[in-house]
Symmetry: C2
Amino acid sequence: MSQVVQLNNTRKDFIFYIRQLHKLCEKDLSLINSLIIDKLDSDVPLVQEIASHLILSGGKRLRPLLTSCCFQMCKDNNNERKHIGLAAAVEFIHAATLLHDDVIDKSKNRRGSLSANEVWGNNTSVLVGDFLFSRAFQLMAKYGNISVLKILSDTSVVISEGEILEIQNDKDLTINEDIYFKVINGKTASLFGASCQVGAMCTKINQEKINALKSFGTNFGMSFQLIDDAIDYSSSTTMLGKNVGDDFREGKVTLPIILAYLRSNDYEKEFWKKTIRHLDQNKDDLSKAIEIVNKYKCIEDTIERAKHFANVAKDSLGIFNESEYKEILTNLVNTGLTRLN
Amino acid sequence: MSQVVQLNNTRKDFIFYIRQLHKLCEKDLSLINSLIIDKLDSDVPLVQEIASHLILSGGKRLRPLLTSCCFQMCKDNNNERKHIGLAAAVEFIHAATLLHDDVIDKSKNRRGSLSANEVWGNNTSVLVGDFLFSRAFQLMAKYGNISVLKILSDTSVVISEGEILEIQNDKDLTINEDIYFKVINGKTASLFGASCQVGAMCTKINQEKINALKSFGTNFGMSFQLIDDAIDYSSSTTMLGKNVGDDFREGKVTLPIILAYLRSNDYEKEFWKKTIRHLDQNKDDLSKAIEIVNKYKCIEDTIERAKHFANVAKDSLGIFNESEYKEILTNLVNTGLTRLN
């Protein structure tokens, strides 16, 4: 075991391992970024301006990195390098969903800058999202095959269904965990899974291992989103660009709230109805919400759920030999869990 | 020449030929409609409800009919019938763009009913549009091949770029015809072209004929949209579900207005600036607009432009032998021109 593993489970390690992953996939990442810039080109200058604003604003490139890492973990010496195009396609799908999400959530900020909808308006954001989504499928046509197309179009269906399910259950304090899991599967896990899967599919690896990497990505994504949702009720003020209280202020019903509402007494239930269902909030309500969430150990239990998915993710890597790729994927999952410390 | 051709160029013939096309492709249309209904299915009931509201509300199915007609025109006895799936995909792409268009244009009505955004809100319309778009690519993965995927993803890029170009030049009275043609190519012609092309690609016909049908569809689409834009300033109150004056009330700069503005005197130019650029309109302004449009023969000249594209469309069919399919496509183009009589 290397030095790397011993660093596990301490603060800020997630960012450390993201950087390690950047280094490990440096050559691929540079090609992916060049291809992304190339494919942002459009005869319509506004398209390029908006798409660049989002895509070149310094996202972590986590999804294309997963594609690259899984490709490299599975490759032998005779593979074409089509995964570069698919990694760009995955990032374009992600960017398209962010543009549409920000319109739907009326978000004013994204990655530390003004959101595209805030700068250029909702209409343009919807259409540039459509453009990026179409570009993703153009990339698949060029670099992929029908199997890859099937995976990524299935994933896109799951993403849009998940988002619709989310707004359909908007501010509903009584949704159950199953619906919530389906929502976060659509929002995050399905594209994490597909990113890993298509990377492996560009190699000659067997179906069992492709399935294992799909499972890895999906479960890592579930765990990742659960921690994201927990961060929103953690006590630090900012964490990885996300502001504590964003979900609360929007009245989003995430797992900490689902658990807190279930465990609340009648008086507290009224508080949740007022602040979440009716979005009637004053400046002390976020602290009060965090207090109730902590009282009933809802963050701990959200982390427990995240650990469950993290364990499934790590175990799915069991069929692979040890390698620096496997090690970094494992470390990402482990440290992803401690992002809110 | 049959009876059919002699009916040419009289009123309401376009609808007559659409019905003839429905009859000629009856078996395909029934399969396409079944597949559409099947693929509207979703675990998320709201998706199905909204998608059905739009797709089952009695559109003409012109695009899938073009796919079916072109397939049948080119087929021999040994073709698989994958064009059914692609025809459904084309209709799904069309429906997705309608949902997003209605959000962007803030439309209240679509096909004689309330628009989806009016009933369920903008957010749901954006996401169900994304769902339909993803479903279209799922259908392509199942029924198509990489060549077809390339055509339809290229088309989707052109559609979104065209729409962005349109809103970017919103209310700009000085845009030139080239930009306008690019906008209507995106809005209508590109998907008409692709609908024809992918139908032919499901047969073993040669590339020259595939190109010819792509050209047919594209130019038919240009002609079709030009007449649509002319209808908006025709004197009848309603025509094919479209209300006269819709474009004017939204301040859309279509060819009749581009020509009218170019030809207007200073006094009339001020009228256009007030009503279109600043959207400051009173109840007599539509009549006044129609008066200026007629004074400068802008409808006649819009029809002349439409005839040009119609002629290119018809000539592109020259390399095909006579058949009932060819005859009906020709008649559709001819009668499409007289829809505003």
